[in-house]
């Protein structure tokens, strides 16, 4: 069984198709999806969205690239180690509540303030967004990490 698997794989490798159409479209769609994911993420505190959806959409945008090209190209486009992103995400998620603990408020007390920015008007700054960044990074990195791992198996 293993043998045949390997065999089909090499055959597939030789017949690596260059689907120009898919690759072109995916590039365009990638930017749309990733922008949408950022939008969802940052708007999440006031309108539907947030770290989970944002992270998942970001991951699926990258998965699209992964399907259109291959892992090597993806890594050239985005030279990031997903394990690192995962770690940073977890650090954010655990660190932000701890920071509020260290500064004298109970664990997980978020702080917020409003500042006046010339063009955009009043903007809310919220430490919950920082926590959400942790969620975003963890979710995005893990989903992508899983698919890349499974995809590259036995190669």
């Amino acid at each position: 069984m293993k043998h045949t698997l390997k065999k089909t794989e090499t055959e597939k490798g030789q017949k690596q198709m260059n689907d120009v159409f898919l690759q072109f479209v995916s590039k365009v769609v990638f930017f749309i999806v990733i922008m949408f994911s950022f939008n969802l993420f940052f708007a999440g505190h006031y309108t539907p969205g947030g770290g989970f959806v944002g992270g998942l959409l970001a991951a699926s945008a990258l998965i699209l690239l992964l399907i259109a090209y291959d892992k090597k190209t993806l890594q050239k486009m985005l030279p990031i180690d997903f394990r690192m992103v995962l770690t940073v995400g977890l650090l954010f998620a655990a660190g932000i509540p701890t920071l509020s603990f260290l500064f004298g408020t109970p664990f997980f007390t978020h702080q917020h303030t409003y500042i006046e920015v010339p063009v955009f008007g009043e903007i809310a700054l919220h430490s919950a967004v920082l926590f959400d960044i942790g969620v975003f990074l963890t979710v995005a990195a893990t989903s992508l990490f899983i698919i890349v791992l499974v995809g590259e198996a036995e190669n």
Partner: protein, 113 residues
Amino acid sequence: MEIITIVLAGILIGSAVYLMLSKSVIRIIIGTAVMSHGVHLMFLTMGQLKRGNIPVLDDDVSNYADPLPQALILTAIVIAFALTAYTLVLALRSYRELGTDNVEEMKGVPHDD
């Protein structure tokens, strides 16, 4: 409406149980995914359906749908994904090691210790 969703959730859960009891690993994984759908639906129903608007603050709206089950389900959806992914990879890996996807054949020798 609630009766319909509850019954539907029950059917989803029951079918999930049937799938999970079968021999093939893939069917078991699909079963867990189906079960999570059923549970989410049940959960959402418990917060009462269609009683208000989307739970996003709006000056014109006074009635909101219950946000708490939604938040919990959101967490559950993501966890269910993690679970599916993990079991899938587990199945993949064990298939490669043991050469079978039949859980009845997977039983190894009992440990000495």
